[in-house]
Symmetry: C2
Subunit: 222 residues, 2 copies
């Protein structure tokens, strides 16, 4: 699939793109500045194994979004609104997968959004009904993504309105080496986003970098 990663120069977006490129997807790294996107793409091409065939390019966010079939939003929450304003036209008719996890104020590990909505719901409001937002990968530490030989010991909560869209994202989870779990409606994204704050606090208290979650109780084969 042709996937644009808005904010793909950041650790999380870059790591996801890296894994998807290694799995054969075509990755377009978007950034505020085209040249930063290009530079990140160059790094990704150099880091990929020789036999990983996915094509990787870089450009600005709007060009990336326009060229892609599926768009991933991976920017700091503070940049979400401006980034979406930039790509609003380009994402119409597409699936927008948001990775955004707002951090709490004043303490990152105590989380709450003033609007009462999740960042994912705010994104859905902003892009309008012509674009479908699915929230995923909020709880995946970037440290799990850079080493292709590493199997991340964590699940991905997937929140969205339509099962078919969530199935597409579950496929992207598998391609990145993880299990996606349907976590319900987009309103539930608030839980995945808040869990990021909880996991950050756990990282700090335990002096680790990659706390994650697993859903237990599912049949093994799932």
């Amino acid at each position: 699939m042709k996937i644009a990663i808005l904010g793909g120069t950041g650790k999380e977006g870059w790591g996801l793109g890296f894994r998807w490129a290694a799995a054969g997807h075509e990755i377009i790294i978007g950034s505020r500045l085209a040249e930063k996107g290009e530079r990140a793409a160059e790094e990704m091409r150099a880091a990929l194994p020789d036999d990983a065939a996915g094509a990787v390019s870089g450009t600005d966010n709007a060009t990336a979004a326009a060229a892609a079939e599926l768009v991933v939003l991976s920017v700091p929450y503070e940049a979400q609104e401006a980034t979406l304003a930039d790509v609003r036209a380009a994402v119409q008719g597409k699936l927008l997968v948001t990775v955004v996890a707002p951090l709490g104020q004043p303490k990152a590990r105590v989380w709450r959004l003033p609007s009462g909505l999740s960042a994912a719901e705010e994104a859905q409001q902003q892009v309008g009904e012509g674009c479908t937002v699915v929230a995923a990968f909020q709880n995946i530490s970037a440290t799990h993504l850079r080493d292709l030989a590493h199997n991340p010991d964590c699940d991905v909560l997937i929140c969205g309105e339509r099962a078919a869209d969530k199935d597409v994202v579950a496929g992207l989870c598998r391609d990145a080496g993880m299990r996606g779990v349907n976590a319900g409606a987009l309103a539930n994204a608030v839980i995945a986003e808040g869990l990021t704050a909880v996991l950050l606090g756990i990282n700090i208290r335990h002096k680790i970098s990659g706390a994650g979650i697993r859903i237990t109780g599912l049949a093994e084969e799932e």
Copy 2:
């Protein structure tokens, strides 16, 4: 420890009390009606292994709270306010561990509280500063608790303001056969409460009864 379980006739509270009694704690099952508490205590005594020494009794909620060193609130969210009004005086100077997880309206699996606070924070507001509220066990399915030979494959998120209080609750997690993980401030209880809705949805979609979570990335010995 002498533990009162308000709403201990319900599956979740009963199951926790059962495990704690088996671990040697003194359990006082509270209910709206003293005779319902007494009957649940009788059932618990009958179900306990002969060598499980914890004393088990039952009474009304206020009497139970007054007699205990630590009070567990395990009622449906809809009964939280009335129950706390009943025991407000009795819980002063004590630790109140709330297990309450509000279910979403209109759909149980889509969760949001109108006050903008977690149920745990609402509880803290209601009992006042003389009583300390810690949230825990929101994500533990009662199906994990009734069989003492079963090791629940799930962790307990513990949210509260003071580490020392959370250590006490972590001890209760161990006594019930589970690992407690410090999940930060009481404000984070909103995440554990919301996760209950997510897990409920997962149970429904996968036709299982005991979905839970594990925190991954911690050192094995923890």
